[in-house]
Subunit: 358 residues, 2 copies
DNA sequence: AGTCTGACCGCAAGCGCTTCCACGCGGACC
DNA sequence: GGTCCGCGTGGAAGCGCTTGCGGTCAGACT
């Protein structure tokens, strides 16, 4: 921003430069070329029924010839209809889960007819970034809806958005009091651990992400705990290992477990990516995965297929899809209360990394 | 807000509904509450030096109390400073490469001080979607710059954007006549294949993605061909297999190679994800990867680490980062010619899936 | 003491568009 | 043959903000 009052011209020049050549054609130009008034030109361009076909044609031609594009600012400001804007807030993008979910979200947001929406991307890795998002959003940008992916929104944040009239939906995170779509992580973990129990395992380890932000209150860990509690084996804290998210973390955690006096016969990892690392360590140690030691993960990440990893699949793309539809419903005027949250089912996929204990 | 008793009220109501509760506070409200004129309020909010500290304080307090947020439309329309908008155009999101690159891009776009930018996400999977993007962009939305990730932009498309004053930069795709950042895929392929050649392999297969859109004109394949041509082994079409991108594709392609009368002793896959599938097939077939058959990929995808896969790493995050900086330079007024394209280096990472032929 | 200089502030003019209203006009009607 | 009607159009009023310009004071000068 230039404060010097003597420099209006300068600012304009900078502006032009910054914005590029920028077609300068305005609605008035189009109207003039078509020999009509701006009002008529506007009506013609907006497909108003009240303009004569011939006139409309003339206006459209003029607009095309001038490479005219409406100024979205002016249009929206003047009360014209304009595409909705939705913010997508994600903590990561390089993890498969988030990318995949976003693909579904995109599909859900654009499916059907309608005017379509613009998607604003906000990558808020850490808590600070998240807080900044919720504080800044109002300050300068403005969206009609926000979908948060994979993390919990606290009440204050939600209230702030609602105050601004921003719809909010959550996908792939914890259950929320507002429209959300997710899976039952607690149950998914139980499916995984129950499977190990049914195979006869008693010493089952937990390999969990140490990042508290991952999957909110760690339902997958409590699912593990509850499954064990029901099954009989008394908990052994040595068998619970927390590691950084990802393959290297899993590999290192598995190493620690192998160093135990009484190593586990099976391992439940809270994510396939962690499980993958564990598998690698086991193989390197010369152990046969699925025979000497069983490993099960969650997600059905592509790596699971490659590793022949038993896992509990969750419908990631679909969570995004459903969330996208929810946003559209909200944007169409449905009351938030009328948009029902959904919990999508998960299911065990049997592959080669699990088997009875040796 | 005064309500005209007649028709306008109806419009307003619809608006309110569509936009949600929407705080109604306008600049005038703030000004009134603070006991100043709108001009002064505006200046105070925009940190203009010409307002008395006490006044500014009063305005800020009023604004906070009213939960006031500027209307970006009005602000931008009136010539106020506003954050730039950049479109990010990607063909996929669930693939690691794109997500990872976008993380770098985000970082590059937001680094340093400056006003920051808004990122509009466009997911254009197929050619039709891409075409639609380049045609639609002008129609309704408006961005200041676009970065295309991982695909080629044809001259007509580029010209269209330039006409509209939209800067464009390319990342992770082919080299372009406009600012772009990428790696030398041809060279990367050579690094991989040369490695196999140096180990003594003569029958080296190519496992390539069949999607012609992947990596544009398939430089990795030609890199393979050229490396072989230089090394001596005469080309054998049986050893060239094209498969759908991904693990399953790689697995199936490897199966085909294994069925050959004279199977290869080494395989070069144009992506780690494909290589991963190949490794799986080999293991299932009871072959020792790295001893009986060597496999090398490209990318240094996380799966490579887990599979202990030899690969040629490319700096994905950094490509995004550099692209983001280029956009900022362009937005700051640098001429496109002054922003030099970059080709980032790749390097071989030796792991366990390659070794001398049996 | 009179003038001058700034610091602060209000006025008003738009930014480019949409929409309400009024208006002219030709045909359908009695 | 004069109304009435409705279609197609232009005029004008904003949407909410920014900013050049000019006015109003308080001190700081001479």
């Amino acid at each position: 921003m230039v404060h010097d009052p003597r420099a209006p011209a300068a600012r304009r020049v900078v502006d032009e430069e910054a914005r590029g050549a920028g077609s300068g054609a305005s609605l008035d130009d189009v109207a003039r070329l078509a020999g009509v008034s701006a009002s008529t030109a506007s009506r013609a361009l907006n497909n108003h029924p009240q303009v004569a076909a011939a006139t409309r044609e003339r206006v459209l031609t003029a607009a095309a010839g001038l490479d005219y594009v409406v100024s979205p600012e002016a249009s929206r400001l003047a009360g014209g209809t304009s595409r909705a804007r939705v913010a997508v807030v994600v903590p990561h993008l390089s993890r498969w889960f988030f990318g995949r979910l976003l693909e579904g979200l995109e599909a859900g947001l654009h499916e059907g007819a309608g005017p379509g929406v613009d998607v604003l991307l906000f990558l808020v890795g850490d808590v600070a970034g998240r807080r900044a998002f919720f504080e800044q959003l109002p300050a300068r940008r403005r969206v009609d809806a926000a979908v948060v992916v994979g993390f919990e929104v606290d009440e204050a944040e939600r209230a702030r958005l609602e105050l601004l009239g921003v719809h909010i939906v959550s996908a792939g995170g914890p259950r929320e009091p507002f429209p959300s779509v997710t899976v039952d992580d607690h149950r998914a973990a139980r499916q995984a651990v129950d499977h190990l129990v049914h195979l006869g395992h008693r010493r089952i380890a937990l390999l969990a992400s140490e990042d508290p932000a991952d999957r909110g209150p760690d339902l997958r860990s409590t699912g593990y705990r509850d499954a064990l509690a029901d099954a009989g084996p008394e908990p052994d804290d040595d068998l619970v290992v927390r590691v950084p998210f990802g393959g290297p973390g899993g590999a290192e955690g598995m190493g620690r477990l192998l160093g135990l006096r009484r190593p586990p016969t099976a391992v439940f990892a809270t994510a396939d990516e962690i499980a993958g690392g564990a598998v690698r360590t086991l193989r390197r140690a010369g152990l046969r995965v699925g025979a000497d030691v069983s490993v099960v993960g969650i997600d059905d990440h592509p790596v699971a297929e490659v590793l022949d990893l038993t896992t509990v699949a969750q419908p990631v793309h679909e969570q995004g899809l459903v969330a996208g539809r929810m946003v559209r419903a909200l944007l169409a005027g449905d009351a938030p209360g009328a948009v029902t949250s959904r919990i999508l089912p998960t299911h065990l996929i049997l592959r080669g990394t699990t088997g009875p204990p040796p």
